[in-house]
């Protein structure tokens, strides 16, 4: 009898505790009671230079919505901002600014170039390449088009074509643009040593713009990391950060570098304020998993919800991250593998190779890894982690 009462009391206690939690987590729409409650933080204040600059450009365009020059300026600024914040809204806004020309068969060259950039961003690589070819037919000496084309061809692992596109820059652009273009390529095609040497000299050039410095430093950092030159990689990442322009790509690349070296606490302090960006939240959660932090479960369910919404809206640009999420955080190799494979069919960068190899290894499927192993061999890819994974898969007794 006494035991029974004790049980009832425990149950009631549990129940009341759960009631307390209830009042905190309501999933229903509500009416806040406090006017001062902060609901949302915007990317910038009205007084920030970026906001003012955007305001001026918007006002210019409002006065004359069909003015190509004003539209290109604003769209370019939006795209640049998209890079800083990692916020696709800016790309949608750039597209909206270009809407008078967006559906034209032959838009003016500057609009066509931006359309290609926005399209490759949405992983519509073939359409983007078609836009660029259209530019190059009209202006064979358009350096911007050659550079963008080279980068898309590289993502599609069409390295010979990419190299030819880079080489067209020789007489059209500053030498560091040519070097950057070729070096990024060299890193995945087994010729990184020489290009790194040349690129190092470029970085010493004080005439580089901030964005250019970030670009060159990131190529150097990532190539160093892939060849195991940890100290150099760290130096180049810090060179990219000292420029002082926020850059989501560099943040992600550095977070990956830290994760690879078990520096989980550094990852947490690097990206814990950046949870709005899916890719950075993913890296944060991976670090939290290693550190066994209590915030992990909340971040996992948040990421799962975001991937679900992305599927619901019909976009597939998140597949690489979703595969990594599924493999590393949900530890479900059999669901991660098809995602990694689908992603490999669209883009083929070292990160795409890595998630496919890791998923194949975890799922015990040598056949699934074969395309990447072939790619590694055919191009002499310099990346010791990828080589290790490939070796593990070949030696594994599946």
């Amino acid at each position: 009898m006494r035991r029974f009462r004790l049980m009832i009391i425990t149950l009631l206690l549990l129940w009341f505790m759960s009631l307390n939690q209830l009042s905190m987590a309501s999933a229903e729409p509500y009416r806040p009671t406090d006017d001062a409650q902060v609901l949302e933080r915007l990317s910038f204040k009205a007084s920030d230079p970026v906001a003012r600059q955007l305001d001026t450009l918007r006002a210019d365009l409002r006065r004359n919505p069909h003015n190509l020059e004003a539209a290109v300026k604003l769209a370019t600024r939006y795209i640049e901002q998209g890079r800083s914040e990692g916020d696709p809204r800016f790309l949608g806004q750039a597209q909206a600014v270009l809407s008078p020309w967006w559906n034209d068969l032959a838009p003016p060259i500057p609009a066509l170039l931006l359309r290609a950039t926005i399209r490759q961003n949405a992983h519509e690589f073939d359409q983007a390449l078609a836009d660029l070819d259209q530019v190059l037919i009209a202006q064979p000496s358009n350096a911007q088009a050659w550079l963008t084309k080279a980068s898309i061809l590289q993502v599609q692992s069409r390295y010979d074509e990419a190299r030819r596109a880079c080489q067209r820059l020789a007489r059209l652009a500053a030498s560091h643009v040519l070097l950057g273009c070729l070096s990024d390529l060299a890193g995945v095609t087994g010729q990184s040593a020489k290009s790194q040497e040349l690129l190092r000299q470029v970085l010493a050039d004080s005439a580089l713009s901030g964005r250019e410095r970030i670009w060159i430093a990131t190529i150097l950092a990532e190539t160093s990391a892939r060849t195991g030159a940890i100290r150099e990689a760290e130096q180049y990442f810090s060179a990219a950060f000292t420029v002082g322009i926020k850059d989501q790509y560099v943040l992600g690349a550095y977070a990956d570098f830290l994760l690879d070296h078990g520096r989980y606490r550094d990852v947490v302090s690097l990206v814990q304020q950046e949870t709005n960006a899916d890719g950075l939240l993913l890296r944060l959660a991976i670090a939290e998993q290693a550190l066994n932090l209590s915030t992990l479960q909340r971040h996992i369910s948040e990421l799962a919800a975001r991937f679900a919404v992305s599927r619901e809206r019909g976009t597939t640009v998140h597949v690489r991250e979703e595969a990594r999420f599924t493999l590393t955080l949900q530890q479900d190799a059999h669901r991660a593998l098809p995602l990694a494979q689908a992603n490999w069919n669209v883009q083929r960068e070292p990160a795409d190779a890595r998630i496919l190899l890791e998923s194949a290894l975890a799922a015990g499927s040598r056949a699934a890894a074969q395309p990447v192993i072939d790619w590694l061999k055919a191009n002499h890819v310099e990346d010791f982690r990828l080589q290790q994974l490939a070796k593990q898969i070949q030696e594994a007794a599946f």
Binding site: F4, L39, E40, T148, I214
Partner: protein
């Protein structure tokens, strides 16, 4: 143009893992001659479209949003046109709330559109934000007599038409009866609760020991009293909740239901605590009714035939319950004399019920996932 070089290059691998793009969530529920709607629009998008940050400090407070309610309403309504069979519906915003989705705070507009006469074809023209964000999408959830369909509005397909199935009262009844039956069969918590209460029904307690009950009629009477009490109680609260007279948070309801199953099991192990089982059935039946109501709300109750669907659903639940009792009772009655019934079936069964229900309770009350589904 030099700057642009590098930007285009760098953008390549970036926003694939960026923030969530801009989406709004529109739910429309068709009710014969009018539409009930809810529209969740991101505060960040509204800030871009009409400017919400009045003091320019980069933060949106409830006060700032509240002051712009009229502008938000006017902006949203000018971007959504609903029409039924060429007749334009007039839309009224009923209230504006706040909700949080995975990527931040949203303004929630609850509205009602009157369409003059029964709706047979619904035409939705969605133009929110496309002019400033060409990649914006509107995710629609359309509910009509219990069926849910989805659609996506984008700049390429801003206008879409949906045919509204002719509703037949009879089909609707059948559908709700069907849902009721399935719900009690698939809602293991209700079944377990009922079974836990019924397990000792074929026994009587004498001198602190279980003994097989004598006549079938006394057993029947016992069962009927329990089932009736449960039915009356849950019908009562089901109706109150479905008619929106009482509302309880679902987590409270779900965890209390789990707790009720634990108690029912415990009652079998400590029988002196529960001499009047029908009272237990009644008391907790009240809570189970709220659980049923949640399902009914999810199905989307047609407002003009609220009572009919409510009764049909309840009839379904009773039919399902009856089927369970009709299977259980004869079996239990037949083996009631066996030595194993009080030990194996009653004690073992109750322990199993308690174990399962405790897991449910912990999961529901503390929002944990102890076992994968």
């Amino acid at each position: 143009m030099r700057i642009l070089f590098v930007i285009a290059w760098l953008l390549l691998s970036v926003p694939a893992w960026a923030h969530k793009p801009s989406d709004s969530y529109l739910s429309l529920s068709i009710q014969d001659d009018h539409i009930e709607g809810q529209w969740d629009i991101a505060l960040r998008d509204l800030a871009d479209a009409i400017g919400l940050d009045s003091d320019g400090d980069g933060q949106l407070t409830w006060g700032e949003v509240r002051n712009k309610h009229d502008e938000i309403k006017a902006y949203a309504l000018s971007r959504l046109a609903l029409s039924a069979d060429t007749q334009t519906c007039t839309t009224q915003v009923l209230e504006q709330l706040i909700d949080h989705h995975t990527d931040g705070a949203y303004s929630v507009l609850k509205f009602r559109s009157n369409c003059d006469g029964a709706i047979e074809r619904l035409h939705v023209d969605y133009r929110l934000l496309f002019d400033i964000d060409a990649q914006h999408k509107g995710l629609l959830r359309l509910t009509q007599s219990g069926h849910i369909s989805t659609a996506i509005f984008s700049q390429e397909s801003p206008a879409q038409e949906f045919s509204v199935a002719k509703r037949s009262r009879w089909n609707e009844c059948i559908q709700f009866i069907h849902e009721g039956i399935w719900h009690i069969w698939l809602g293991f918590d209700h079944v377990l609760f009922l079974l836990a209460l019924l397990l000792p029904a074929v026994l009587v307690r004498a001198a602190d020991r279980w003994q097989a009950a004598g006549t079938f009629s006394s057993v029947c009477w016992n069962v009927v009293s329990i089932v009736t009490a449960f039915t009356v109680a849950h019908s009562l609260t089901l109706s109150l909740a479905a008619l929106d007279i009482i509302r309880l948070p679902s987590r409270l309801v779900e965890s209390t239901i789990a707790a009720s199953v634990v108690l029912a099991g415990l009652g079998n192990l400590y029988p002196m605590m529960m001499t009047r089982r029908w009272m237990i059935a009644f008391g907790f039946g009240l809570i189970h009714g709220f659980g049923f109501a949640a399902v009914l709300t999810d199905l989307g109750l047609p407002h003009d035939s609220l009572l009919l669907s409510l009764v049909s659903f309840n009839v379904g639940v009773e039919l399902g319950q009856l089927a369970i009792v009709a299977t259980f009772l004869p079996l239990a009655y037949l083996i009631r004399h066996s030595w194993s019934y009080p030990r194996l079936v009653l004690t073992g069964g109750s322990l199993a019920v308690i174990a399962i229900a405790l897991v449910w309770f912990t999961e529901r009350a503390f929002d944990l996932q102890l076992f994968p589904l």
